[in-house]
Amino acid sequence: MFDSAASASLSIRRALSGRHVFLTGGSGFVGKVWLSMVLAELPEIERLYVFLRPKALVPARQRFEKMLNTSAAFKPLHDRYGARLTQYLATRLEVVEGDLAAPDLGLAPDVVRRLKRDLDVFVHCAGLVDFNPDLRKAIASNVDATMQVADFVENCDHASLLHISTCYVAGRRYGEIPEVLTPDYAPDAANYDAEQELAIARERVAQVVQEHEAASFSASAREHVLADLHAQGRPLPTDRTLETLARKHQRETLKDALVDEGMSRARHLGWPNTYTYTKSMAESLLEKRSDRLRFSILRPSIVESSLEYPFPGWNESFNGTAPLAYIMGSWFRMVPARPDAPFDVIPVDQVCRAMTIATAALAQGCERPVYHVGTSHRHRCSVGRAAELIVLSHRRHYRQRNQTRGERVLKSRWDAVLREPDNPLGVRASRAVVHGIEEALELLPAKLRAKVERMARRLHEMDSDLAQIEKLVDLYLPFMYESFYVFESYAIDAHPPLEPEFRYQPEKLDWRQYWLEIHMPGLRRWAFPLIEGRRPERYRCEHAVRLAPAVAPPAAADENLTSNRLAASEA
């Protein structure tokens, strides 16, 4: 429980003045907004290192430039500095290239030397945020990378670590979840040991990979491909094509098996998915280092569209409410959910405010071990209310924007409703009905079957749509139906910022306004096009930033740099 007497105001500017801060995950949804926010609002930070991987032969610096010039998250920076942005960034920011899975993060030796000497706070925001990724990738990104980061920070002279995790590491639980870091925590396992679990998970991955790479499996993959081509009425392929197709099939099967393996281990131990399972494992492993590593864990809940920064409605998240909100605007109506359960959504800029406070607390040495950043405790929005607001937003959209009469008159009134998962009109029951009809059609004489071929095709399409919805519902069910969480959120109040612009105030959210006027229009603009396979609008800045190759910063700040900072400070 939070001791209110221990809270003391913190000057964010003073705490971070002259500090060296390192950021991973700067190309992600949260990382981008935080980076933009810090660059725009905290010119006091001495140097900001942005870690990026080179991708497909594109060096990190080039990737960063592209991101900076095309992502709307950086719009406030472009608006403020315009053509001077390149110069402004050159004095404060350094893009470093490396590999989080490698020792010393794969950084160049001179960068490592400098960082070990100068680094104050390492903000580890990188991670794989898919709910059900391939277990191998999830371990590499969420566990191994975190451990490499922890090793690196441990070897620094005085650095501390801010690790971004998730509230949902709590797993399948009920009631209030405290802001504590429990050693070797697993929701449904008594004698859980994170190190042992990591070893078991690695072993399972190795087994699955071995099974899928065995000669017998390759042969069966070839047989499968041939059978598939035969069923489609296609001619026999050449040996080379067959080999390629078989390998592709093998890869896909291996990926599916690793996804299933991750989900089954997670659910066996009480986590809703592989993401939370691996994130929790990383937390437990960090906890084991608490005697030699100074760190804080910041656990946001479901991070969603920004409230104010970079502008209202900015969104880039596909794992939040976007898929669910999207299907609630379709003809599918029955969403399995508990209306009274809290739906913990938090705007991305509020998360970034909390990250800045936690970073400043670490720099000042007054950090708390865990920060929950959510709304279920301070300003609750229930699943029922969120669903109602999603429905109302679709209603508004279909009434106002769409030209077809069907959408204006019918779809706008076709409200999704929350029901029990076993509702007779739910997705599972609907699929069963579709299957039943398909089977009945199969029994028809050949003459009649030809007449209903179009209907059979339509049913098949409907079934594959329903299968996707079913998959999605299964992923979201733990959050919307099976759990009833309230994430206590006291720790962040231990350091109320002196400067009002850095205050974290989720209580000020007006949920109706947020969902109807900010979040849903934001999803429609940035996330729904991606779900539909379209490209969302792209931000085009007026003055593109071109960064010079990274050079070691000057020993002392020159006059120009100081005047820039002062100007930015005043702005």
């Binding site: 209310r385 109602e388 607001l389 429905v391 109302l392 209603r395 508004r396 009434r399 009134r413 409200d415 409703v417 109706r512 109807l516």
Partner: protein
């Protein structure tokens, strides 16, 4: 407080709008979540319609309570959104321009313009903004608990015979001279409101009010057929 000493009180339903409480209740019912709920709520509105018609002359407070009961368990969010929709798609087209002109003229003549409505605040707010010359309004408010409408109206419920008492209190609070004030009303239960002011006027009156206005030799305006 302004220096306006006289006021114009206008009953919204009948004077400014051609639609009343039943139409709004039916709209909310028809747009409730879920098809079954819509059917049940619409059934409720249909069943209470004759009672509303009958009570409209005797106990309009009870009539309003009955009509709004069909909004029970609708969320505050939905009511707000539907009110906006109802206003923009239906009610806006039902504004009686002659009524608006009456108010604008009164405003130009230095009167404080006060609307009295059986409708809900969510509906009256955009109406008052649209008309533009409204100084104040009094209307009905739904009671909400945990974000859901209880179906009850918050006391005092507007619409009954006691609007005359309310009007006197309002005039006292705002230092208005009732003898120099005007009231426009359309329904029987507004009789006391009309008798409380120096210049009463029946507008598009129903049978009861028309008879009373004729007997009392009040002016009668008919602009809504």
């Amino acid at each position: 407080m302004t220096d306006i000493q006289k006021a114009v009180f206008a009953r919204v339903e009948g004077v400014l709008l051609a639609k009343g409480v039943r139409s709004a209740a039916a709209y909310f019912a028809a747009n409730a979540p879920g098809l079954r709920e819509r059917a049940l709520r619409l059934g409720h509105v249909a069943l209470t319609a004759p009672a509303y018609q009958w009570l409209g002359q005797t106990d309009r407070v009870l009539a309003n309570r009955l009509a709004y009961l069909s909004l029970r368990n609708l969320s505050e969010d939905r009511i707000a959104e539907l009110s906006e929709e109802y206003w923009s798609t239906i009610l806006r087209k039902q504004i009686l321009n002659d009524g608006v002109e009456l108010l604008k003229r009164a405003r130009r003549e230095g009167n404080r313009v006060v609307l009295v409505a059986d409708s809900l605040d969510q509906i009256l707010q955009p109406l008052a903004a649209e008309i533009g010359c409204v100084d104040d309004y009094v209307c009905n408010h739904l009671e909400f608990r945990n974000g859901l409408a209880t179906g009850r109206l918050v006391d005092p419920v507007v619409g009954g015979h006691d609007s005359g008492v309310w009007l006197s209190q309002y005039a006292q609070e705002h230092q208005l001279a009732l003898a120099g004030s005007t009231a426009y009303a359309s329904h029987g239960p507004d009789l006391l409101m009309l008798t409380a002011v120096g210049r009463p006027c029946a507008v598009n009156p129903d049978f009861t009010l028309r008879r009373a206005a004729t007997q009392a030799r009040w002016p009668v305006l008919d602009y809504h057929v």
